[in-house]
């Protein structure tokens, strides 16, 4: 299974870098391709098309527990901005580049976007929890389907 993990966020804005911390914890030998980006842009649609499984990791300030959910089709028309959501990137990839794989979004609860490279204590704990969850799932590929 070709797996692509995409960490999104700005490492210089405190907890916004939580997703990147997860990739650091997983390390390069995880058996997946790792991508770090500040924001999701349409050209990622071409890259994810080559994967069987793609996981978008991002900091989430509006939730209080770690979640891993399937990326669904965008419900509403996308906002007219230069930034895209995982649902939009996946929809583009399926339509333009024949992406047929599974796509998930991992949301890491965070608290503080103040300038700086340090994660808040709670964000650091959730980043470790996310890494453990992904490691566990990589060890049991069938569980992705169950999700």
């Amino acid at each position: 299974m070709r797996t692509l993990l995409i960490a999104c966020g700005n490492c210089w804005r405190g907890d916004d870098g939580a997703a990147h911390r997860v990739l650091d914890l997983l390390g390069p030998d995880i058996g997946a391709q790792l991508r770090s980006v500040q924001q999701l842009l349409p050209e990622l649609a071409g890259e994810i098309a080559e994967a069987n499984l793609v996981v978008f990791l991002d900091a989430a300030i509006d939730c209080d527990r770690l979640s891993l959910e399937a990326v669904l089709e965008p419900e509403a028309p996308p906002a007219l901005t230069h930034v895209s959501r995982p649902s939009e990137i996946v929809a583009l990839s399926r339509a333009l580049f024949r992406f047929k794989g599974l796509a998930f979004q991992c949301r890491i609860p965070v608290a503080d976007f103040a300038t700086g490279e340090k994660l808040s204590p709670s964000a650091a704990v959730f980043a470790e929890e996310a890494a453990r969850m992904l490691l566990d799932l990589f060890g049991h590929p069938a569980r992705w389907i169950d999700r």
């Binding site: 999104c8 966020g9 700005n10 210089w12 916004d16 980006v37 500040q38 924001q39 999701l40 842009l41 349409p42 050209e43 649609a45 071409g46 890259e47 991002d58 965008p74 028309p77 996308p78 906002a79 007219l80 901005t81 230069h82 930034v83 959501r85 939009e88 929809a91 583009l92 339509a95 333009l96 580049f97």
Partner: protein
């Protein structure tokens, strides 16, 4: 009773802005303005830092054109060191600048402006985006995405990463260009050339169908400023400044970009955080000028690559000495994309690119340095002052979008007067308001750069009564961003 309309936020641009429209007693447009509502203050942030850190710090001004800021900053650093950088470093910097312009123009044309151009200015807003394009012409959209991906890939290969690459600094660059990198870049060229050629041919056909927009979205005489090489040709990395007027007459030749402060001034207006640069000998506002793709093609005698030269000759037929219609920024952008792909291919055969000497080593030799280059949106200047220890005491950034500020205001004003007519109920058609935003998009402004902000980018339109009361405010819903 007169009133004012406010469009906020303006969408599909980089940064935060709003458009305000003043209506008279009869409900007709009296004037319109483009307001930039961000403030960042990068010039202040850098004070006290070593000048060697500036390319890395200044690249954070923008996530779209960080390479331009790295280049201008590195060149200012070269001047502080008093060095001439090795040929390999110069060719790498040139390659990165072509890739930067290509990917930025692809973003502007395919992602931000094509929904207007291919689906129509009056298409429902819910469809006027890249998903609407997907339904309309998936191949066109796929090519646009791939073209930008190509530019980004070149930047990643040479700079080590796509955004904020730190490979260049005062005195040269840090990484050697390899034959494997060359081979990968060359493997992209046929597809890139095919895509940009198709987009150009289609663009010419489509753009010409927008006659009212060509005529009224920022069609006015102005000065044009851009960099040219010693033969008067199109130049992005290092050259001399040339200024022409709206009829193509030469106003100034062979200006040294390092001496920009002797011929360019900056005026302020109370309605915008962005300054209004002008050509000093003409004063403000008469000396206002435009920069960017349209200006570059107006000041350049030739492009210097076969396909772009053919297109440039044809492009110049559209004007009388100079092309003054801002809508033609789109076409100019397409021609520049073609030129960049040609130049990138050409550079792959340049032996200097593979040189092993990457750095000119020196300590601080000057207390003041200026670096300039052509960024995607126009001429960019970085001006630094340092103390004897090389710590920054002051910086001045003259950004491309800043230099187009007055032109964008004139474009919005012209578009509002031509297209906005309230209905009996006093409402304005969405498509008409979109034309005001489209007037701004011609310039592909980067407001994050020009205010040297954090947060969301879109514009707001506000309408005001004569007594100053806000009558109506139109804002699109904001979305969360990661940048």
């Amino acid at each position: 009773m007169s009133r004012t309309v406010l469009i906020q936020p303006v969408t599909r641009i980089e940064g935060h802005a709003k458009i305000s429209i003043q209506l008279d007693d009869a409900g007709q447009v009296e004037s319109a303005r483009f307001h930039v509502t961000e403030f960042r203050g990068f010039e202040k942030l850098c004070e006290g830092r070593p000048f060697q850190e500036m390319p890395g710090l200044m690249s954070r001004v923008c996530g779209i054109c960080p390479v331009s800021h790295v280049l201008a900053s590195s060149k200012a650093g070269d001047m502080l060191l008093g060095v001439q950088i090795p040929p390999a470093a110069e060719q790498q910097r040139r390659l990165m600048n072509y890739a930067q312009i290509l990917q930025s123009h692809a973003l502007s044309f395919f992602h931000l402006s094509s929904p207007d151009l291919l689906l129509g200015m009056d298409a429902p807003p819910a469809e006027r985006n890249i998903f609407g394009l997907l339904q309309h012409d998936a191949d066109f959209l796929r090519r646009g995405i791939r073209l930008r991906q190509f530019g980004q890939r070149v930047i990643e290969l040479v700079g080590g990463k796509k955004i904020h690459p730190g490979w260049s600094g005062p005195g040269g660059v840090q990484r050697r260009f390899t034959f494997a990198q060359r081979d990968e870049i060359l493997s992209w060229i046929p597809e890139a050339m095919d895509s940009v050629s198709l987009a150009l041919e289609r663009g010419k056909r489509v753009l010409d169908s927008f006659r009212p927009e060509i005529e009224f979205l920022g069609n006015f005489p102005s000065l044009f400023l851009g960099t040219v090489n010693s033969h008067g040709g199109l130049e992005y990395y290092d050259g001399l400044i040339r200024i022409v007027d709206g009829r193509g007459n030469s106003i100034a030749e062979n200006l040294d970009p390092k001496r920009y402060a002797t011929y360019l001034g900056e005026a302020s207006e109370d309605f915008s955080f962005v300054k209004f640069p002008y050509y000093l000998p003409f004063g403000y506002p008469q000396g206002h000028y435009r920069v960017g793709p349209l200006a570059r093609l107006n000041v350049a005698a030739f492009a210097g690559t076969p396909r772009a030269d053919r297109e440039l000759r044809e492009f110049k037929q559209r004007g009388q000495g100079a092309v003054c219609e801002s809508f033609h920024y789109h076409l100019a952008r397409l021609i520049e994309m073609l030129h960049c792909v040609e130049r990138i291919e050409e550079l792959m055969a340049h032996p200097d690119l593979f040189g092993e000497t990457l750095q000119a080593h020196a300590s601080l030799n000057r207390r003041e340095g200026v670096g300039s280059c052509e960024a995607p949106r126009g001429t960019l200047f970085h001006h630094y002052w340092v103390d004897p220890d090389g710590l920054m005491t002051r910086a001045n950034l003259l950004i491309a979008t800043t230099q187009n500020n007055r032109a964008m205001n004139l474009a919005v004003d012209q578009a509002a007067r031509r297209f906005l007519e309230p209905s009996a109920s006093g409402e304005f058609e969405e498509g008409k308001l979109n034309r005001l935003e489209a007037a701004i998009r011609c310039y592909d402004p980067c407001l994050s750069c020009s205010t040297h902000a954090l947060g969301q980018m879109p514009v707001v339109v506000e309408m005001f009564a004569v007594n100053g009361d806000l009558v109506r405010r139109i804002a699109r819903p904001a979305v969360s961003e990661n940048a």
